[in-house]
Subunit: 425 residues, 2 copies
């Protein structure tokens, strides 16, 4: 399926707003030159000549956007979940990331990662690599070959990391510049993103250099923010001049509408206001925030404030690569937060989780995450016949159930990114 | 595989205690007449003539015991997760359970349920039916045919339920007596269990009748306890004479070493002491407790007190039938509880989750849940080769990872209950 103009027939669902999902049973999703021309109950005459992709009886939904995960950590997903963030980084994560100096190891690991990402529900992703330029370029090549659209970052770390991983400030900046020269414009679907690991790993001097590179190359930014209380305290010590943790990025021009900050579990009011004012994205990573005992981010509050929010698996803080699981976890975590922390913030609904995983995160990539006219056409075709029940279900009920049971009877049958089909073999 | 004496070769793991897992790579698990004769690094000469089941390279672990779930709710798993317990019961659960008056519907629904339970990781289960005797007997027939060992309850409800579901006290007791006469001793693997739904659904008079039946037939008991704050308050109003919610069962002789109480999220100190003193089992159901916004049970406290604790999926408060998912959820929930509620109670480890899902719940069925000599031999053979990684892992690391990723690349290849193989077709 190489054509980028076609008509997809199936049971179509997509978010109109955080609370409203449009469902069209036996509808027609029209793709013209890789973009949606809309969803129709009857196929308009003008598209009658387009090739028909017949997915009758299947659910058709927008592709899911994973806006925070770590490619090198995929190798130890599901392992070592016995520590909080800072000890986890030193015990499990940094030693694993050190291995990516070895390009043979990186090739084996990234082959697995890219293959699994290609086959899962994710169509677009914002990805951390490691500090290593060759391994990060290899990762970009592997991801380009998947057909997915991704932002990929060479990580910067010039303090508080093991000797074999830490860079000098000068070499980190220079390696980043060299990497950007190598990869900017080199790929069709795989783009670089400025990636200071997090404030504890990056000196003010290097942060300033990264701010300058971001501006020079007009690049997006990804990092971590207010994930864990010990991390937040540490940043206060490391950047006594900052008014809040987010300020330690903002000061160097690293927040804004093309920045995604993972977690924001423990953000102060001032920090939330700074994120809102700058239009910075929050990547909510509920499974990771549970597994590393970080807490639960107040996503309802961020939505009420009109902030930009998407979902992230945060592999390998989270074990699962499944964005369906991530959606279900977001709903479940919000209910526990309501019960245990703050009953003024209503739990998320499954509808809102769908919105976060599609339009919420998708907007980081442009007009992505919806089937409304003009959006890039990312779509999943879902077979839910293996989730058996004697009941007759509506299209929405079938999708709701799929969110919770994608891995227990659900099957992703086809996947399209910007109108092009991705192989699931 | 009909034989009940054989030798199983594989990478064997089982719990020696909540904190200690024994792992034997390329070991031999010996089954004699349906019971374990132990796990050996080298096969003892005296078993050399036994048939060898060669599962080299596969993980072999004890079967998992799901000690709380609702068979009739399986039909709407993953749906309607937008309410708290009491509204959820009235809106979603009771209307669905009403359908089981229709034996045709029950047959279709229980075929699906029994088939999926047979193929999942569960080897033993403690199951709620509905109030309907014919449907409950049909459920027992279907479960008997799976080869699993289960306790199944005809539910009792004589108040606070819709007209089409509620029984009169006399008819409820009489139907239960008739059902027990029908099914006691009728099946090899499927046994009745006294099942007052929960105090809000059962008058004191009926509770007393059930206590008498329990004693007369020497039966186990299952019910719900302190799941939700509104439920707990309601019980205080309904049973002003009781010293705590658990007392509203204990008063009628319904607690004890053959009773399992689901949830115990909001149990008072007095209630915990009553459960401990009577040896009552707690069925911890972490996914349900999140999805119905109930809270998180203090499982660490129950373990520290030496109480009997197992895990339950609580389908359809929980959407997933997977006991691996249940184990992972138990660990994750305990970390959130540590972070958000009480840092004096350490999070559960994956080792402890394995213990809870095997020995913890298994002991409700007798000598079940371990491969130690004399235990009934319930075993799962797990293929983890689809959970790809470039790393070399220990046997324990492979199992730890399987707990978190069973549904994302893991595969259950074979399943044995009391030494007999269960078909996974």
């Amino acid at each position: 399926m190489g054509a980028e103009s076609f008509v997809l027939r199936g049971d179509i669902c997509y978010s109109l707003s955080p609370r409203e999902v449009r469902c069209v049973e036996g509808g027609y999703l029209v793709c013209v030159d890789g973009r949606s021309a809309g969803v129709f109950e009857e196929l308009p005459e003008r598209y009658a000549a387009s090739p028909l992709v017949d997915c009758t009886g299947r659910l058709v939904i927008p592709g899911l956007c994973d806006i925070h995960l770590h490619a090198p950590q995929y190798a130890f997903r599901g392992l070592g979940m016995d520590l909080e963030l800072l000890d986890w980084l030193n015990t499990h994560t940094f030693p694993e990331e050190t291995r990516y100096a070895d390009l043979d190891y990186a090739a084996r690991a990234y082959d697995v990662f890219a293959g699994d990402l290609r086959r899962c529900a994710t169509t677009r992703a914002v990805v951390f690599g490691t500090v290593h330029v060759p391994a990060t370029e290899l990762l970009m090549e592997r991801l380009e070959a998947t057909g997915l659209v991704t932002y990929v970052g060479k990580v910067n770390m010039d303090r508080n990391a093991p000797e074999r991983l830490v860079e000098t400030s000068a070499r980190s900046a220079e390696a980043t510049r060299r990497w950007l020269e190598d990869v900017c414009g080199r790929f069709e679907r795989t783009h670089p993103i400025i990636t200071p690991r997090f404030t504890p790993s990056v000196t003010d001097g290097l942060m300033a250099e990264l701010g300058a590179l971001r501006e020079k190359y007009d690049l997006p930014v990804q990092s971590h923010l207010s994930e864990n209380p010990s991390e937040v305290s540490w940043v206060k010590e490391l950047c006594p001049w900052s008014s809040c943790y987010a300020d330690a990025y903002d000061h160097f021009g690293l927040l804004g509408e093309k920045t995604v900050m993972a977690h924001c579990v423990h953000s102060t009011d001032e920090e939330v206001e700074l994120l809102r004012r700058t239009g910075t994205y929050v990547a909510h990573c509920p499974q990771s925030n549970a597994q590393l005992a970080s807490g639960i981010a107040p996503v309802r509050r961020y939505l009420d404030l009109g902030m930009s929010v998407g979902l992230g698996t945060d592999v390998a803080g989270g074990a699962s690569l499944s964005m369906f699981r991530c959606m279900a976890d977001a709903v479940a975590a919000s209910k526990l937060r309501w019960r245990l922390v703050d009953q003024s913030l209503a739990p998320l609904t499954t509808q809102e989780a769908l919105w976060l995983a599609t339009v919420g995160g998708g907007s980081f990539f442009g007009r992505v995450g919806s089937f409304a006219e003009g959006y890039e056409l990312d779509a999943l075709v879902l077979n839910d016949s293996g989730i058996r029940t004697p009941r007759k279900l509506t299209v929405w009920e079938r999708l709701e159930r799929f969110v919770y049971l994608a891995e227990e009877g659900g099957r992703i049958e086809r996947k399209f990114v910007a109108g092009r089909e991705v192989s699931l073999d």
